[in-house]
Amino acid sequence: VDWAIALHGGAGTISQDLPDSVKQEYYEGLEQALRTGELILRDGGSALDAVEHVVRSLEDNPRFNAGRGAVFTKEGKHELDAAIMDGSTLGAGALTGLTTVKNPISLARKVMTDSPHILFSGEGAETYADETDVERVDNDHFHTERRYEQWQRAQEEARAITPEESIHDWIKDTKFG
């Protein structure tokens, strides 16, 4: 094997009753991301370039919980996390709590290559982004109606938790990617 790539778009309880049109959108999103990686690796590109651009493709696809299409926080906003690691050097870059970076994975790569650190969080992560040329967007960019409706349902369910019921039980039943 000269090269290989694998990708995911989240795991959890996924109903087999998904409408065919929705299934098709997921399959197409996975195919598109796979094609992105194939083109890079087939032409002798690096594993790092491949994983960054594959993840960018998935971040830009509103079906998946990353970038545009990310889920809502309790406060009704979007907070994004990303990490990248180079197996040949053990170089790594990561961010948590980003709110205005369109493609967090590309900023994670800059953390890995351009900073002496590995992980930036929250306001610091946004400040780090200010010092780079990564594309910025309003937090609303990540909004999708489907995630908004999920968030509204999740808020109702959270309010319905009884004192006897562990928050962990609730999380376990609702996790998704």
Partner: protein
């Protein structure tokens, strides 16, 4: 959560993961994705990206455990994935995609589904959501 792992023609491995976290998450909650070794890891043995219940993935330092299991037990990538999914994590906790230093791919989960796809230079191609389809 989304993620990717790759093995290139020069023998390098890399892993990347990105997420919006969990729906309705509380102030400052951080999951496994940006925690190197938990949700994302790559070394000379394997590259791994995780998805699922972040707290469980972190407790088991899951991605690093897969690489270490391979290195110290001289196990295959599939065996290492089975170890973390069946011996450490609970059913319904997580899924992983991984590639090793020989270009072997493994994509496994103990959830009902995981959006996933893979391809290698031999043309072996997979695009799947559920375990059996």
């Amino acid at each position: 959560t989304v993620g990717a792992v790759a093995y290139d023609s020069k023998g390098n491995l890399a892993a990347a993961t990105s997420t919006g976290g969990m729906t309705n998450k509380q102030f400052g909650r951080v999951g496994d994705v940006p925690i190197i070794g938990s949700g994302t890891f790559a070394n000379h043995i394997a590259a791994i990206s995780a998805t699922g219940w972040g707290e469980q993935i972190m407790r088991n330092v899951s991605a690093n455990t897969i690489a270490n299991y391979m290195e110290f037990k001289e196990a295959s990538l599939d065996e290492a994935m089975d170890f973390i999914l069946n011996e450490r994590l609970d059913p319904g906790d997580a899924g992983f995609v991984a590639v090793d230093h020989q270009g072997n791919i493994s994509m496994k989960m103990n959830t009902t589904g995981m959006f996933r796809a893979s391809l290698n230079s031999n043309g072996d191609r997979t695009v799947m959501i559920w375990e059996d389809e």
